[in-house]
Point group: C2
Chain length 339, copies 2
Amino acid sequence: MEEISKSPVSDVPTLADVAARAGVSTATVSRCLNTPDRVTEKTLKTVMDAVNHLGYAPNYSARALAAGRTNMIGAIIPTMENAIFARGIQAFQEELQKNGCTLLVASSSYRQDLEEEQIRTLTARGADALLLIGYQRDPQIYEFLKKRKIPAVLTWASEPSQNFLSVGFDNRKAMKELATDVIGKGHRTIGCISADTATNDRARERVEGIWAAMRDAGLEPDTLQVVETAYSIENGEAAFQQLMSGANPPTAVMCGNDVLAVGALRAAADLGLKVPDDVAITGFDNIELAFVAPVPLTTVHVPHRRMGQLAARALIEALHGRSPESVELPTEVRHRNTL
Amino acid sequence: MEEISKSPVSDVPTLADVAARAGVSTATVSRCLNTPDRVTEKTLKTVMDAVNHLGYAPNYSARALAAGRTNMIGAIIPTMENAIFARGIQAFQEELQKNGCTLLVASSSYRQDLEEEQIRTLTARGADALLLIGYQRDPQIYEFLKKRKIPAVLTWASEPSQNFLSVGFDNRKAMKELATDVIGKGHRTIGCISADTATNDRARERVEGIWAAMRDAGLEPDTLQVVETAYSIENGEAAFQQLMSGANPPTAVMCGNDVLAVGALRAAADLGLKVPDDVAITGFDNIELAFVAPVPLTTVHVPHRRMGQLAARALIEALHGRSPESVELPTEVRHRNTL
């Protein structure tokens, strides 16, 4: 880590400078900044004019040391480039903001080692609490958070052991519901394009959901043709081509998210296959791409904004010393034109 | 702002606890944490084992006070829900991370008053530097940043006075180029769906770019039919319907971004209009929606990732006391099927 030095800060305005300019005591300035409802309108205006004129800002580092808190809450997400994380985190931030908290964000590029490093970094930077995605990680990380007394909320999943606070949804159940509909349409040879199931618990549970539906329908789960790849339109195209060029091409391809499904749709068009007559394709998430796609996607709707909002509320509860309950949000299959 | 209290922090492990457990001096622990290359592998392992076992994390609040810096850099964006900001900020964060800096994010919902409040909040929380979108804001904010010695980089635009550090692109020039192509195809009755031009400098410059192209072609800029609305697919649909139900419906509708353009495309399909034969539609940004759209969009490609990366580098330069130069990135018209 490279050290960054700032120019000398000696002429940065202080509380005393503000007090001098406003002609009041430093205690009055503090009151204006911290409990403005306890000062008169006139004093508040005089002091805030001085604050603005001098460009004064309270020193939260000093405050944080004194109070043992920073009102900064960290979120570590795989990437901001997927609309679902952007949407959930936007709602999370709006709710934090209403409660006087600031969001610290880091992204891990879906790498567990990077996520661990970022958990330590955000904690070291003073994050009071953390939002994390999924539940699968080194138990030592949970130990670390416990020892540091940092509340964490797990999102985008329902933590199966119920040992941790989570605000999410059941990926297995959601995908099982969609897979049951796929099988109900008569499909027996099924393909699946998934993210890495070894490191991504959401991806693994979605595949397990398809297996569960197959079992219930008397199909052999082993016959599910799974291609694992990173989430992108291009990768969805390549994986779909791979599935279709196999010995026993599937009649339905269930994708781990809408981005992969849009790639599959594009590849199907390139191969001259009609969707859903020649091959059915499904997504997961219900982002804008899903309904804007050339053939509007049948997919699973996930309440991302609601999840972000409730996750923020849970962390704020925890920071107030209360014990928020985990929340499992319902998902819903959205039937459009690809199944 | 509601105050949040944390549970007592007295049993949070200290540097001395780590030193005691590892059987080394506190100075050695500091070296392991700050300059690990200056200690032996063996010492590093012993100390880091103790750090991990105890769940110790260095206290950046105390460090920040001592060093006058936090290595935290703030970004205030209109919303994370637009893919272009998510993409640019993801690249910005990746570059910051490489340089040992953490990202603080706030979003302003395109509201200038909220942005101003967030500039003060992030600064108060210890942001060493800020990324801002566009250049149009109360001059008093620039004064505040100057007095606080907080470097700021303006992005998504080229700041016209060249008085501020900016890493962006020329919205007027980019849209003028596209409008010239639209006029070159024979269009004389042109519509425009734009975000609020009074508060959004990027939106205003894009409209000005169309006017400039019209002037160059001998068309009367006043004849441009502008509908202003917030960026969303639904609003794009409604604005397109409004333009088409006027007395003199345009033969080409230029949209302020791809999201609005996708809305326009959907509305055109609903009205039974063929694109581009009955009406041409153009976008701006070149996000995934643009090429996934039912008719792939002719749009302006903006190098969002590159912009985020270079903006991070500029701020890091500034924090090192150097004077980075502003950068104007090239944009490029992408011809697809809607013009």
